[in-house]
């Protein structure tokens, strides 16, 4: 039973209030994209064991989507941040680096 802090309403939300939305920071490929690009966008997920950026919706709370940086193995949460973000923000990267010095954003 995870808890994640919703960056929109500030609540420490229990997993029962949240809906998971899979990997974050995907680039959408629409008409005009190659088959490979579309396949990558739709289906190819690295399913990492370790640091993972992911989408969550505070579904039973404020209803807003947000993003979280989380370790999928230890369940440690490095931080949550607004969904309106194209890449992990600097403070989140710093928080991850502090805990996982060997990790890097690939």
């Amino acid at each position: 039973m995870l808890t994640l802090t919703c960056p929109v309403c500030g609540v420490d939300a229990c997993e029962t209030e949240l809906a998971a939305g899979g990997e974050a920071h995907l680039k959408r490929y629409g008409p005009g994209s190659s088959d490979d690009q579309f396949e990558e966008y739709m289906f190819m997920r690295p399913n990492v064991k370790g640091v993972h950026f992911e989408r969550w919706r505070h579904a039973m709370g404020c209803g807003k989507w947000f993003l979280a940086a989380r370790d999928t193995a230890t369940l440690e949460v490095f931080g949550t941040y607004p969904a309106q973000t194209l890449e992990p923000p600097a403070d989140i990267l710093k928080a991850i680096k502090a805990k996982r010095p060997d990790w890097s954003l690939t």
Binding site: P31, A83, Q84
Partner: protein, 998 residues
């Protein structure tokens, strides 16, 4: 014999009498007894039979770790199997029956299994699966099914009459265990101002210390506990709960506690069990330790009991399991039992100790009482069938041939103590092997970690490996101080104890025959010989050995057997115990009731029910309701004596001939509004929505990014910036979430708002040739063909109601869907019925709706679609814009397989004989597939009897179906038959649309 003593019994009230029955026989106990102590007081040594060999079994422990003494409790609706007598508090008229025997506890036919035990070795089930194959179905399975299982399962039609509930708690600290350590931690945390919840699984505070006579801070343990609880009760920031077990630790500080409120005092007033759902900043496990049995031949016979349990029964309940006890122990603590028994006037025949010497404080005290102490000795045999008669004592290390037969009627055994590390381990806390104490202890460097990557469980006291009083008190001071809670070390005086000698098999030289009589797992009948056989057969992993032998898989989850079992495995594999490791600790710590898990979620409270404003009317009419999402919708409105089928046909007939009324309020209604709403609508729907004029309606399709059709409905443009999107009844929340996902996460710079207004409106479909007449009779707005043509919307009043009228049709008839504010819904519905009486206004349900839409060839999401169907498959190309550069799903539909002609596509299906095709039927093709199954070329998606056409009609997806009009194909039936079926247009009724467009 086991009996009540004239003295002792700190927990019982000797002035009271509590009557109960065991196997129908009336017995007497005292208030404060457990069922276990009361049974012992009545000399009921034999309480059950083991699972596999049906061996006679007696009580072995005094707490939740009890493997043997499981009984059926209660009768009829309150019958509950597999209840441990050791944790069952006695109450008046308690009814218990023993389990797992036939025909009776005293005489059990199944005990013959024991005589053929060499045919039931480790892995018996797996081996039997293999050979001889034919035996399984006809011989082994019926026999095993007959004899398997412990208590009797309740009858499936009984309903638990008791009440259960959930509690939520948010605390700084939850402390599991109300022994001395737990109380010390609670005092320190409470004084520090923390919000503390202290739970204790038994009915008493203090744990073992009062039994063992420790002196805490200069006071007797009993007095210290009393004072501590008094102080804690005065603290407003501390909550205390007895009979509450912290049963599981989960991620991020979540924990479950199981409170037994009514078990000891059944009452209609209070719930029986309560499940606490706790979020704690810190979980402190002061869960103590469990004593291990010793593995000597015959250690499972009634009368052989854990040494600590013997002390518990004597001191707490004034009950002794025997008149003459032999103590067998590999540690000094076991000697306490000899002292306790002696002090209570129970004869101690001797103490058997495999260690070469025993010179600690406690053995010396025992010797001073002239109790014989046999060091370097072992029990090599226990005589007696249904209870102990005597034991054979001989040398432990090497067989010198000599032995003594010592008469006794009880054996108190102690193989050392194992800290209860379950709560530490549930979420991955790691363990170290403590050589000196021969037990696993929490490794404080590798705790379970929370969302901050920090440990959130702390073990203290015996659970931390402090198995003796002073050492336990030190762990409390150290560990609590490390958490930043000032904690002074409370002095605890106990006897000095010498180290134990790890003894896993007794005597050391025991051969195969003796090892086959040494029980590890009493409940599942797993013996030392079974684990050794598993090792011999190549099982190296403790997890595999567990499943192969069933060691630790019984309802006690190996609380007594696991360490002994893996020590035997380690020895057989010639490895160290830490290398073999433990099996996984999983919650709950002991079984918790299904009722507690369900809580209040049963009956009407099982899930929230959504009701339309007209719901009560439907129920009052006796409508047959069906679930649609969380809604309940009328399937049909049967009249007296009418079958559902007849009702549906009547409703369709009335609607098509004159006038039908449908409660369509469940239809999803979502407002999309803002300057960028047209652009957003263009992305959501496959259709061109920006060209829709205000006041107009358009049927729209919504696809996911894969291109598959996910929802459909009529879109209405209310004004330049505002759209009303109708969705399917079950899909409104999903579609709204889908819109928000794109708006919040992809196009967050678009100026669009959405609102799900489904429940703000009641919506009623007025359908049939007389629909307009009815609305004109109500009056208030012009609903004529010219003013309000097909696929247009108008706002106004009808019969005084504020109405939004849509000229749309899902039936093919002249049809208006009228939305009124939800608060006016029921009154409007009544008004329509009253005014419509002259046209026989008939309410119709979802089945009539379905049949009429199928007659018209309209698709239904979930029937014609299943998440693999694209709109092109359904002949809906007309609703897919070719002009738009992009919409959700467009790229997906461009993939080669989607764009191919080689797909199953929608057609109508008419059986040659007019019958109704079975639902789920497949269109059979020539040949067979690799599995020998008939090839298929299509399937039925909707199938009904059409009263309008007086024949079966179906829709289905058939390979290149639209190109095969008129072809006769075959569909299969459940019984293996084939039905000749003609491929036709899916529009069976009024293909020109003359009826709806009048």
């Amino acid at each position: 014999m086991s009996t009540r003593l004239p003295t002792q019994g700190r927990l019982i009230d000797r002035s009271s009498t509590v009557k109960f029955t065991f196997n129908g026989k009336w017995m007497r106990g005292h208030a404060g007894d457990t069922l276990a102590s009361a049974l012992l007081a009545n000399d009921q040594m034999l309480v059950g039979r083991s699972f596999k060999y049906h061996r006679p079994r007696g009580i072995v422990a005094s707490g939740g770790e009890e493997p043997n003494a499981l009984v059926n409790l209660g009768r009829h609706k309150r019958h509950e199997p597999n209840q441990r007598v050791t944790t069952t508090e006695l109450f008046d008229k308690l009814e218990a029956t023993s389990q797992n025997h036939w025909p009776s506890l005293e005489f059990d036919v199944g005990a013959v299994n024991a005589m053929v035990s060499r045919f039931l070795p480790a892995g018996f089930y797996y081996k039997t699966f293999m050979f001889p194959r034919a035996f399984w179905k006809h011989v082994f399975e019926p026999v095993i099914r007959q004899s398997a299982g412990l208590g009797a399962a309740p009858h499936p039609e009984t309903r638990d009459p008791d009440r259960y509930e959930h509690f939520y708690a948010h605390v700084d600290m939850v402390i599991a265990g109300g022994g001395i350590a737990g109380l010390m931690a609670a005092l320190a945390s409470g004084r520090a101002g923390k919000r503390v919840l202290l739970v204790e699984q038994s009915a008493h505070w203090g744990g073992r210390a009062p039994v063992d006579g420790d002196v805490v801070d200069g006071q007797s343990a009993e007095d210290w506990v009393k004072n501590a609880v008094e102080e804690l009760e005065k603290m407003e920031n501390v909550s205390l709960r007895l009979r509450t077990q912290l049963s599981g630790v989960y991620d991020h500080g979540y924990a479950l506690a199981y409170e037994r409120i009514g078990d000891h005092a059944p009452s209609e007033e209070s719930p029986r069990h309560r499940l606490w759902r706790i979020r704690a900043g810190r979980i402190v496990a002061a869960t103590g330790a469990i004593e291990r049995p010793l593995s000597f031949p015959g250690n499972d016979k009634p009368g052989v009991m854990l040494a600590g349990a013997v002390r518990d029964y004597i001191v707490n309940y004034g009950v002794t399991p025997g008149d003459r006890i032999v103590v067998v122990t590999n540690n000094d603590d076991g000697y306490r039992t000899a002292l306790t028994a002696h002090a209570a006037g129970v004869a101690v025949a001797c103490v058997v100790d495999p260690r070469p010497t025993a010179d600690g404080d406690l053995p010396q005290q025992v010797r001073a009482l002239n109790i014989p102490v046999r060091t370097g000795a072992a029990i090599s045999k226990v005589k007696g069938l249904k209870r102990v008669v005597s034991v054979r004592v001989q040398a432990f290390a090497e067989d010198d041939g000599g032995y003594d037969e010592i008469p006794c009627d009880a054996v108190a055994m102690s193989g050392g103590w194992s800290p209860v590390v379950h709560l530490w381990s549930h979420c991955g806390g790691k363990l170290n092997w403590d050589e000196g104490q021969a037990c696993f202890v929490p490794d404080t460097d590798r705790p379970p970690t929370n969302q901050n990557g920090e440990g959130y469980v702390t073990c203290i006291g015996a659970a931390a490996g402090g198995l003796q009083g002073a050492a336990a008190a030190k762990t409390v001071a150290d560990r609590m101080s490390a958490l930043g809670i000032a904690t002074e070390e409370v002095p605890v005086q106990t006897a000095n104890e010498a180290l134990l000698a790890p003894v896993w098999v007794m005597p050391a030289y025991a051969g195969v025959k003796k090892r086959a009589k040494m029980w590890l797992d009493f409940q599942n009948d797993v013996k030392v010989s079974d684990v050794m056989l598993a090792a011999q057969e190549g099982y190296e992993s403790v997890e595999h050995t567990k499943r192969y032998t069933t060691l630790g898989m019984a309802t006690d989850q190996g609380k007594l057997s696991n360490i002994n079992g893996l020590a035997v495995l380690a020895e057989a594999l010639d490895k160290g115990i830490p290398q073999v490791g433990t099996t996984t600790f999983r919650p709950p710590y002991t079984p918790i009731s299904m009722g507690a898990i369900a809580g209040e979620a049963k009956g009407a409270l099982f899930q929230p029910l959504r009701r339309t404003p007209i719901h009560d009317w439907h129920e009052a009419q006796g409508a047959y309701m069906e679930p649609v999402g969380h809604w309940r919708r009328p399937y049909c409105f049967p009249r007296d004596g009418e079958s559902h089928e007849d009702a549906v046909n009547r409703e369709i007939d009335a609607t098509r001939r004159s006038l039908g009324l449908l409660d369509a309020s469940t239809l999803g209604k979502i407002i999309v509004k803002g300057p960028d709403a047209p652009k957003f609508m263009g992305m959501l729907y496959t259709n061109m929505m920006s060209s829709l004029k205000p006041g107009k309606c358009r049927y729209g399709l919504m696809c996911n990014e894969n291109g598959f059709l996910m929802d459909d409905g009529v879109v209405v443009r209310l004004d330049e910036e505002t759209f009303l999107c109708h969705t399917t009844s079950g899909g409104a929340d999903t579609v709204h979430g889908w819109m928000e996902d794109w708006l919040q996460c992809e196009w967050w710079d678009w100026k669009v708002y959405t609102a799900n207004v489904t429940e703000q409106w009641a919506q009623i479909a007025v359908v049939g040739p007389n629909a307009r007449k009815l609305l004109e009779k109500l009056g208030g707005m012009d609903v004529s063909k010219d003013t309000l043509p097909f696929m247009q919307m108008a706002e106004g009043t009808l019969g005084g109601f504020d109405a939004r009228v849509f000229r749309i049709s899902f039936s093919g008839e002249l049809s208006y869907e009228i939305a009124v504010p939800a608060s006016q819904g029921r009154a409007f519905w009544d008004a329509l019925h009253e005014a419509g009486a002259e046209w026989n206004a008939t309410p119709y349900g979802t089945e009539a709706l379905h049949v009429m839409r199928a007659e018209k060839g309209f698709i239904m999401i979930g029937d014609e679609t299943d998440g693999t169907v694209i709109p092109q498959d359904l002949g809906l190309n007309w609703a897919i814009s070719k002009k738009k550069e992009d919409f959700l799903g467009k790229r997906g539909q461009q993939r080669t397989f989607m764009a191919s002609e080689d797909r199953w596509q929608l057609v109508g299906l008419e059986t040659v004989d007019g019958s109704v095709l079975p639902d789920g039927s497949y269109c059979v093709a020539d040949g067979k597939n690799a599995n020998g199954q008939a090839n298929v070329q299509g399937r039925v998606t909707s199938t009904y009897y059409s009263p309008t056409l007086a024949r079966g009609i179906s829709m289905g997806l058939v390979h290149k179906g639209p190109d095969r009009m008129g072809e006769v194909v075959e569909f299969n039936t459940v019984d293996g038959g084939r039905v000749k079926t003609k491929i036709v247009s899916p529009v069976f009724y009024d293909p020109e649309g003359e009826k709806q467009n009048v």
